[in-house]
Amino acid sequence: MEERESKKETFSDKVWSFFSSIKLAIVVFSLIALTSIVGTILEQNAAPEVNMRVLSHLVGINAAPMMYRILNAMDFMNMYRSWWFLSLLALFAANLLVCSIDRFPGIWKIVKAPAAPMPPEAFRGAQIKAEVKFAGKGQPADVAREAFKKIGFVPHEHSSGDEVQIYTQKHAWSRLGVYITHVSIIVIMVGAVAGKWFGFKGVLSLPEGETATVAYRDQQMGSQAQADAQQRLMDLLEATNSNLPQLASALNVSQSQLAGIMKSLGIYPLGFALRCDNFNVDFYGDTDQPKAYKSKLTVIDDGKEVLTKQIEVNKPLKYKGVTVYQSSYGQLDNFNNGVAILDAKGPGGASETMRLKIGESIKMPGTGATVKLVDFNPALAFDESGRPYAYAHMMNNPAVEVQINSGDTKAYKWILKRYPQTWSLGDGSILKLKEFWGVQYTGLQVRRDPGVWIVYLGCLMLGLGLFVAFFMSHRRIWVRIVNEKGGAKAIIAASANKNRYAFERQIEKLKAHLAEGGK
């Protein structure tokens, strides 16, 4: 940051002083902040009509299409991944690094320098000055040493002629706090880049009972050609049963080339198979307030089931460097493959678990009545005329309609999972709906990020660096012991590079110890 004194600046000097200039810092700071604001107003990665609406609000309906074209050409609709925004971040990192390197030697000298006595004439110019008479019985030098120790400093001593000087310093290294902070930001950026480079972030919609070996990129493919290529590769994957070595040899490429192709097309092999055994939403009491989204997942590695875990939001599954997060869910359109899981119990008998699809029948234990599953509703409610309808798009209140045939009588009845009073069939037997399985899918976020630990290391450094930079200070104290007619007195000089207020209170304590020491 300082002006460089050389007469002839070489090219590399010029580059260096460009990157270390405070002007660059200000320009980059402002550009990042200002362009970021635009990126929060325009929704990122949204459908064109969303931002057209935003723009018509802002600039009027006539100017909006033009504005949209301009902003779109400048990548503002996906700006945080655009080349110019990433360049700004890179410039920011370079500026930070060069500025720190530029200033580091000067600070390092101060940090390394051992505590040293101060020439008597310099005492007048000190940041904090004080004088105090030794009123206690002790030897002034002993008292001063004790006083230093009492406020937590290690005393050093220097005598010249008849004058003794006690001096000390503490936390010189705290001047490095600001460098730890600056470096930590670069570490975080390195971690982020490493994660992008060596890892992936994909999504996976997994219906109950199904298995997947790859996740997909969240965003839409850029071009139709890419989308087609992705589809072809997915078909091939299916054809080879996700056997990557086999697929590589079929395509006549090496395995690492295949990995590169897959990544560029937004297909990420997990390295194992993942099966969704079950998905469920828990609600608070009888309300429709979701309490938990739960997916029971099984990891199948090398043909063997190695791990089964129930994941929730905030409770992901980790296996072989891949983390699987609960992120969304949904319902399939077709209920015909769904299986109702029912507990059937005859009068006085034990309960039996039954599984049946729509159209299938079972015999109730005990009574021998036939129960046929005729309908399913994910969120049952009845309208004014008593007709059933689904009040929500999700499985908020699953219910099945059964036809009960006992003897000649035929009756229809809705059985609701949430309400036990609907489980009784009237003849003493009970049919409890435990679940309707196979019609929901779980939306998973799947990630491999080897850089995340570097990011966390950077965060730790950032926290520590800021603590040191703001709450610790390099404190120095010098005390000259001068003999006068009325007794000895201490002339104090002290300095702290920040938090002077707290340091002054410490000096007040030192003064009290000096005045009363040895009493």
Binding site: I41, Y80, Y284, A292, V313, N314, Y325, Y456, L462
Partner: protein, 367 residues
């Protein structure tokens, strides 16, 4: 008594305390000052009880066995604004003790009052939106406590330095200076926006909207966005008059604040202290803890969500403040303007993002 009654008492106490603090400045009688502090402390105590009671209720709603750490009632706009006021008053009462100066209260209690007023006129306290709601799955994490409390502590530190920074500008600028225009126009805009929001609130409160829908669809519909062109023109004219008025009579406000008996240097010092404490807390609690939590809940520690971007902008503004002050030795108007801009960015991060922009942080509007 239940939590809303205690909230009611604390709101009244803060309003009364505001009036007494202002009276105290006018008369400088110690008795008045002590009364102001007492009333503010009572308000703070009632608010503390109310927050605890609400936490207990939330814990009951969440059901047996739920973590006590997650029963902190800061899960919607209403609760978070109240928590913000609580942090602000706590910070103020500590500073009052430490600096033994009560005049400052006349500037902090109005911020508390404004926040409480905002709760009303933004519809955050409409029936249906201030009820205790159990936590949605994404919020069920122990990071909630660390992330949200530290964020709000830093917000209130920034609010303190905003108020001292603004006071600094008021006492140290003269009519022909740019910084004078900056604070008078800024204050004029704040008054205009709040007044316009107040009118909308009176007109549309029957609709019982959420704050988000109210702001998105009805904000300024009675004034600047009215269907009638005449009303629009009149509103703009009136706003212009208000802003010009603040600019013209700004010197009067200067006299009032000079009466606080705080030197410009002290104001500058407190502004810096507020930021020096708020910045590391914001970095740790807001950015780092937020990133760790997002990583756990969504599998992305940073997703350029509007809330995250605005936090980053806020962070950059305050980082700029610190570098300009410590490295370039900026003092006076320039640095005070930066501290005010920083808080404008905080307001954007906290309110504008939640009310106007979409994103992951819309206070539990689904998964």
């Amino acid at each position: 008594m239940n939590s809303s009654q205690f909230f009611g008492i604390s709101t009244i106490a803060y309003m009364v305390a505001m009036a007494i603090y202002i009276t105290y400045i006018a008369f400088k009688k110690k008795g008045i000052g002590v009364t102001a502090t007492t009333v503010a402390t009572i308000g703070f105590a009632c608010q503390t009880i109310a927050i605890i009671l609400r936490g207990v209720q939330l814990h009951q709603v969440m059901g047996a066995g739920s973590s006590l750490l997650r029963a902190l009632p800061i899960t919607n706009l209403y609760e978070s604004l109240i928590f913000f006021v609580w942090c602000l008053m706590l910070g103020y009462l500590i500073i009052e003790r430490r600096y033994q100066n009560r005049s400052f209260g006349a500037f902090v209690t109005p911020i508390a009052a404004l926040a409480l007023l905002f709760i009303e006129i933004s519809g955050a306290s409409n029936p249906g939106f201030k009820e205790i709601e159990p936590l949605v799955p994404a919020l069920q994490s122990n990071w909630l406590l660390a992330h949200v409390t530290l964020s709000f502590i830093s917000y209130s530190m920034f609010a303190l330095s905003f108020s001292t920074g603004l006071m600094y500008l008021i006492v140290s600028t003269h009519k022909n200076e740019p910084a004078y225009v900056f604070w008078t126009v800024g204050l004029g805009i704040i008054i205009t926006v709040l007044a316009a929001m107040g009118i909308d609130w009176f007109r549309y409160k029957e609709l019982g909207l959420t704050s988000e829908n109210f702001v998105k669809s009805y904000l300024f519909r009675s004034t600047f966005r009215s269907d009638s062109g005449a009303v629009q023109a009149f509103s703009v004219l009136l706003a212009g008059l208000v802003i010009t008025g603040v600019w013209y009579f700004g010197a009067g406000l200067k006299k009032v604040i000079e009466g606080f008996g705080m030197s410009a240097a002290t104001l500058d010092e407190i502004t810096y202290k507020g930021i020096a404490i708020g910045f590391p807390i914001f970095t740790l609690g807001g950015l780092i803890f937020g990133a760790i939590w997002a990583d756990q809940a969504w599998g992305v520690y940073w997703s350029w969500d509007p809330k995250e971007v605005w936090s980053l902008i806020t962070w950059l503004v305050y980082a700029f403040y610190l570098h300009a002050r410590l490295l370039r030795g900026w003092r006076g108007h320039k640095i005070a303007v930066v501290s005010v801009m920083g808080f404008v960015s905080v307001i954007c991060t906290y309110l504008v993002v939640n009310l106007l922009l979409s994103g992951l942080h819309s206070y539990g509007n689904g998964q």
